[in-house]
């Protein structure tokens, strides 16, 4: 396994190679502490002003810049939503939004900080790409393609290390992390390594699952989803997002459109905020550890 670059070193590398790249933040510096000194005036901290930050990013993009806008996912996508939609979305400007601590990663913060509706709101903006890295390496791997793309893009920040071995990154293409024909589990982002581990547990119980890491939810790899649905008897979607507007609905919309009739089991947040706490305990409480996920996959498999 090659040495994993950090998010901020990846940004620094991109900024070094591409003078269009700027980094902006609404004083959310935890992941980018070294950048002010290294980027100088190309690091723009506007203070806790998400709306102004997004409006300014649109103005900077009008002038040919590619702003990487880093802020907490829930305040970025909700407080500044109309600025994202109206200034960046309508103009189709190449602003790159990076939402920190999405989904379960807000751990002990509580519902105010729970970005579990971010995918839902961002995918309604025409032309918006949505990228969900599975771990730190995928986060760094996606950034060059995200920055090179002319489209506005939302990246669900996830710098959690994992032991996954990834296929080369291609924006809009899924990767197959395990192959089986008993069921196919579709996921993206932080929960991907948990799903892989859960399926490894099932393999010991003679239940073989395909694991599809979708990587991006817009554009989404429709071919991979349809192929998984046709090859397996059942699909499971796993997401740290509300079941409204997220992965489950993205997948089921595609299946309906392609007239593919298979059971789809949604595992996500069914219309409520999750219980805040230490991340490990949250995952246990909400049923998203590998062991708990394996039980949930198995429970469906044995009762259908």
């Amino acid at each position: 396994m090659s040495e994993t670059p950090s998010y901020q070193s990846a940004l620094l590398d991109l900024a070094g190679r591409d003078p269009r790249v700027l980094v902006m933040t609404a004083e959310n510096r935890a992941a980018i502490r070294d950048l002010p000194a290294k980027l100088g005036p190309r690091f723009i901290d506007v203070g806790i002003c998400e709306q102004t930050m997004v409006g300014m990013a649109a103005g900077l993009a009008l002038r040919g810049r590619v702003p990487v806008v880093h802020a907490l996912a829930t305040f970025l996508t909700l407080r500044a939503y109309e600025f994202i939609r109206t200034d960046v979305g309508i103009a189709g400007l190449p602003v790159k939004f990076v939402g920190a601590v999405p989904g379960f990663l807000s751990d002990g913060n509580g519902p105010t900080h729970q970005a579990i509706d971010d995918i839902s709101v961002m995918r309604t903006i025409p032309g918006m790409q949505i990228v969900c890295p599975a771990d730190d390496r995928e986060l760094c791997a996606c950034l060059p393609q995200v920055v090179a793309s002319p489209a506005p893009t939302y990246v669900r920040y996830n710098a959690t290390p994992s032991k996954l071995e990834h296929a080369p990154y291609a924006l809009g293409r899924a990767e197959v992390l395990a192959e089986g024909t008993d069921l196919a589990v579709l996921t993206a982002g932080f929960l991907t390594p948990k799903v892989v581990d859960a399926c490894a547990i099932l393999r010991g119980q003679e239940l073989d699952a395909t694991v599809l890491n979708l990587r991006t939810l817009a554009p989404v790899d429709e071919d991979a989803i349809c192929a998984a649905a046709l090859a397996c008897r059942v699909l499971v979607t796993v997401e740290d997002h509300l079941l409204i507007g997220g992965l489950y609905q993205i997948v089921t919309e595609i299946l309906v459109r392609h007239r593919i009739s298979v059971p789809v089991v949604p595992i996500g947040l069914p219309g409520r905020w999750f219980q805040p706490g230490r991340l490990g305990e949250v995952l246990e409480h909400e049923g998203f550890t590998p062991a708990r996920l394996a039980e949930r996959f198995r429970a469906f498999e044995t009762t259908r």
């Binding site: 506007v46 203070g47 102004t52 409006g55 300014m56 103005g59 002038r63 040919g64 200034d87």
Partner: protein, 284 residues
């Protein structure tokens, strides 16, 4: 410095006539268009380094119309400056063109779309910031309505403009005293507006937005203070140029009959005092 503004006054009268002609067969936001017409004419004629031949010049000045619904005055100004022919105004509200109630970039000269209040101060700041980063000469001018100052995003952006020392930014407030339906001071009082913007770090000048001499003095030297954004509070009159409608709260958006358009054009030319029979409209 020339103090003969006869040509500018004639140009502003033609811009107002264009706007009045757009106020039929679907109508337009006439009141705010007529209040900012003199400011726009002055900026495009005497201040902004932009012309139809340099719409893509990265060193041009940028004007952002933030309240957006005053775009008939901008369309009229563009016609007078040769950005597009007057005949195109006949396409207003036709689905075959892009001339509608709010500005968009498909119209030559429009730098950015607007319509949702409280956006373009921050967008213009991005342009000003980039000009600073590149060392370019571009300046960003942004025209906001006084009602628009209800939006918190304007004040948030003002904090940032000052903190980032954007002295190539000029905020112009079309202080016509009205928001959509009511006088600003009866709903959310803005005064003392100059002191507020000054306290936010702007170099502030208050003037009569219909007096070209005062506009000339205010814009003669920018930035007014190094390291500070400029704010120009242009005191104006809603429906300026049409005494029968000036300062009327219920004539913000109008949809006139062709006969009423003719009467108002006569009134603009100094003849008569139009008496409108069309329904006052409130569309917000």
């Amino acid at each position: 410095m020339s103090t003969d503004f006869a040509e500018l006054e004639a140009q502003a009268r033609r811009v107002r006539a264009h706007a009045i002609r757009l106020a039929t067969n679907g109508g337009c936001f006439l009141g705010a268009s007529l209040s900012c017409a003199d400011v726009l004419v002055y900026l495009y004629d005497r201040v902004l380094r932009v012309s139809p031949r340099r719409l893509d010049d990265p060193h041009r000045d940028y004007l952002f119309l933030s309240k957006g619904h005053d775009v008939p005055a901008l369309y009229g100004t563009f016609v007078e400056r040769g950005f597009f022919p007057a005949a195109r105004l006949r396409n207003h509200l036709s689905v075959t063109d892009q001339l509608y109630w709010h500005p968009n970039r498909a119209v030559p000269g429009v730098e950015f779309h607007a319509g949702s209040l409280g956006h373009l101060l921050s967008v213009s700041m991005g342009v000003a910031m980039d000009a600073k980063l590149t060392g370019g000469p571009s300046r960003a001018f942004v025209l906001v309505g006084d009602g628009e100052l209800n939006e918190g995003s304007v004040w948030e952006a003002a904090l940032v403009a000052s903190a980032k020392k954007l002295d190539n930014l000029v905020l112009i407030v079309d202080r016509n005293g009205f928001q959509a339906n009511v006088a600003t001071e009866t709903l959310l009082p803005l005064e003392p507006l100059g002191e507020k913007l000054g306290a936010f770090g702007f170099s502030v000048v208050e003037l009569n937005g219909h007096d070209f001499g005062e506009l000339q003095r205010a814009f003669a030297e920018l930035p007014r203070r190094a390291g500070r954004p400029t704010a120009v509070i242009a005191r104006t009159t809603r429906n300026k140029g049409l005494p029968s409608l000036e300062g009327k709260a219920d004539r913000w958006f109008v949809d006139l009959s062709p006969r009423e358009v003719e009467l108002l054009l006569e009134e603009l030319g100094g003849a008569g005092h139009a008496s409108l029979t069309s329904e006052p409209l409130v569309v917000r």
